[in-house]
């Protein structure tokens, strides 16, 4: 009876092993994320976003338009689709619905249109339109 009571409880051994695995796995991932995250200082308090690489598939045209200061009708016109039924759809939904054979077409078109139509950056801004935050301006030969 007493030997049964002192039998090691395998549930707690499994908990410790699982805990150690979690510590290793998530610890390494958190460390890697922290290193990436540490290299990115909070952006300047800009009113408009400038880096088109931040545009993602889940965003809608009005949302992108709001963040980058380019009117939505310019973006819809560039995609050659009507505004009315599509303003709540994500770029991915639009791509799947209208350009199913061209993977990533909508994302690329929106990025290119933003770059072409973005309002010029204010003179004291450290960034050119379309340049990633903190990027050095291109030199002309």
């Amino acid at each position: 009876m007493s030997s049964e009571r002192t039998k090691p409880n395998y549930l707690f051994i499994a908990l410790s092993v699982l805990g150690a695995l979690f510590i290793l796995f998530f610890g390494l991932r958190a460390f890697r994320a922290f290193k990436k995250f540490d290299g990115h200082r909070p952006p300047f308090p800009e009113n408009l976003q400038t880096d088109v690489n931040d545009i993602e598939d889940w965003m809608t045209i009005p949302f992108i338009s709001h963040n980058y200061g380019v009117p939505p009708d310019i973006l819809f016109e560039a995609l050659n689709i009507p505004d009315r039924e599509n303003h709540k759809k994500s770029l991915k939904q639009i791509n799947d619905e209208f350009f199913a054979t061209q993977d990533g077409y909508v994302l690329e078109t929106v990025r290119a249109t933003i770059l072409a139509h973005q309002p010029p950056a204010p003179p004291d801004s450290p960034n050119e339109p379309g340049a990633p935050l903190g990027a050095t301006p291109p030199t002309t030969p």
């Binding site: 090691p8 699982l18 805990g19 979690f22 998530f26 976003q49 889940w58 963040n67 994500s90």
Partner: protein, 197 residues
Amino acid sequence: MSDFLLTQVINYGAPLLGVILMLGGIGIPVPGTLLVIAAGAFVRQGYLTWYTTALISIVLVVIGDNISYSIGYLAREKILLRFSHTPRWIESEKFFQKWGALSVFFTRFLVTAIAIPVNLVAGTTRFPMNRFLLFDILGEVMWIFGYGGLGYIFGSQWELVNDFISNFGGFALGIILFVIGLRQARVWQLKKQSLSN
């Protein structure tokens, strides 16, 4: 699913965010932390207003938590039929009466993966409702303002913050599991020693 929910949050704003967080509080698996961080960034971008977003989110997530607490509370009789006299049940009830407040508080924002089991156990062990509510609100305020604040500070780079925080949550859970395992191993060792003496 995260992408779909992000699209809907930018379409329907704070009310939808609140409903999603409430469903998360009930126990439906939704990427709540990701949405809170993203909402902070949307506030920064001028797409949401901070006070309505924070207020709606806190109220609805607290309602969700209290629903899962109530589920545990109502299920008590059935659970007692099976476990009521086992030493482990008595031990866990004592543990929760002692550490319940801190468990509720920290699982709201630090170890969110076990927030639902904690709500259910709190209800089942009849942890006082008013204390649950107090620590739940405090923890959720930390979650919404802390994580939403990080999203606000990092703006368009909120995904980097989310990547770090979600992994850190797993790391914290690992520490908790490991410490519980070690503690029980120590209890077992002491019991063995006392029996052999």
